[in-house]
Symmetry: C2
Subunit: 165 residues, 2 copies
DNA sequence: TATAAAAAGTTTAAGCTTGAAATATATTCC
DNA sequence: GGAATATATTTCAAGCTTAAACTTTTTATA
């Protein structure tokens, strides 16, 4: 009891509030995870039953819609932030059902360009519209203002954990 | 040009603001998805390289830690909101490496109880502590207040899309 | 110009996930 | 008691995902 107390108390308080922040952040993360999984499950189910499709296919097609001239496999996997082996498989299946085509790139026989077929574009347009409705319904309880607000706050969350944006 | 215009204009305005909300909600959803995936990827990487484990294993062990007497497969899959076939596989692997044990339930030979072994409990304790640190680091830019605030807002988001909480 | 290094994609092995079918046991009810 | 139904779990087929190994082609460089 004769030792100087201030530094000890300070560091203890620091440790405590550090711990409290940590717990609060952990809670936030678990909540985000729960909500995200729930929404993903609902969307997956909808895509499956109503369009016989999947979320990964939807993501790929959404990326391809933005690039009428197609994308190289490389660009696609970077844009979606998934492994290139992953993209290979998804594209294989999209080619199989006629939504996507692989196009040779003249001047580089290693690379392939990949783009939506007209049928793929049509199919995706329908799905995308439905998708927006589903999301709108799922987020029914959130006003546009709240959505905007949460979105802004989310901006401070980790977006670039090493990977480029 | 001679038809009454007011109702038409009203409905057009309604459609427009409906559309704006819808777009705002879609943006929110995409942002949530992006952040969540980024954090999940970082945590998965950490669990893999530092503990030779995975997120699903972590989730299962976390659920089991709360139930010292173990849980039935059924309860586990309900609690984690994943299919029971899924849980079977994860538990198989956890049993294989000695973290979990299956226990017969007397009086019902259909069901099994599943619980952490002492080794599993120890291993999980270490991982859980590291996990909290990782999350804390990933969410570094978020103050405890912001975390709390976002968490509150997230509460209004879909939590019960049919499934029990 | 040979050879090494880099780049683009695919393949592979392992694990996660689902929905549906199958198996085994328990319960209900006639 | 025995048939029908319900419950608990596993198995299966298909698809997603990753990291690592591999193949092919291009580019750099000695």
């Amino acid at each position: 009891m004769t030792a100087p107390q201030t530094p000890q108390v300070n560091s203890r308080q620091a440790a405590l509030s550090q711990d409290a922040s940590s717990k609060e952040r952990l809670r936030l993360w678990l909540r985000m995870l729960r909500v995200t999984r729930q929404v993903e499950a609902a969307l997956r189910e909808k895509l499956r039953t109503e369009y016989d499709s999947t979320l990964p296919r939807f993501d790929v097609m959404a990326a391809l819609l933005q690039a009428p001239n197609g994308l190289k496999m490389n660009e696609l996997s970077k844009r979606l932030r998934v492994s290139n082996g992953n993209v290979t498989g998804i594209i294989d299946r999209l080619v199989e059902d006629g939504s996507v085509e692989r196009i040779a790139i003249e001047g580089d026989r290693r690379a392939t360009r990949v783009r939506l077929t007209p049928a793929g574009r049509d199919a995706f347009t329908l799905m995308a519209e439905a998708h927006e409705h589903w999301v709108n319904d799922l987020f029914e309880g959130v006003t546009a203002e709240d959505a905007h607000h949460i979105g802004e706050l989310l901006h401070r969350l980790p977006t670039h954990t090493g990977a480029p944006s």
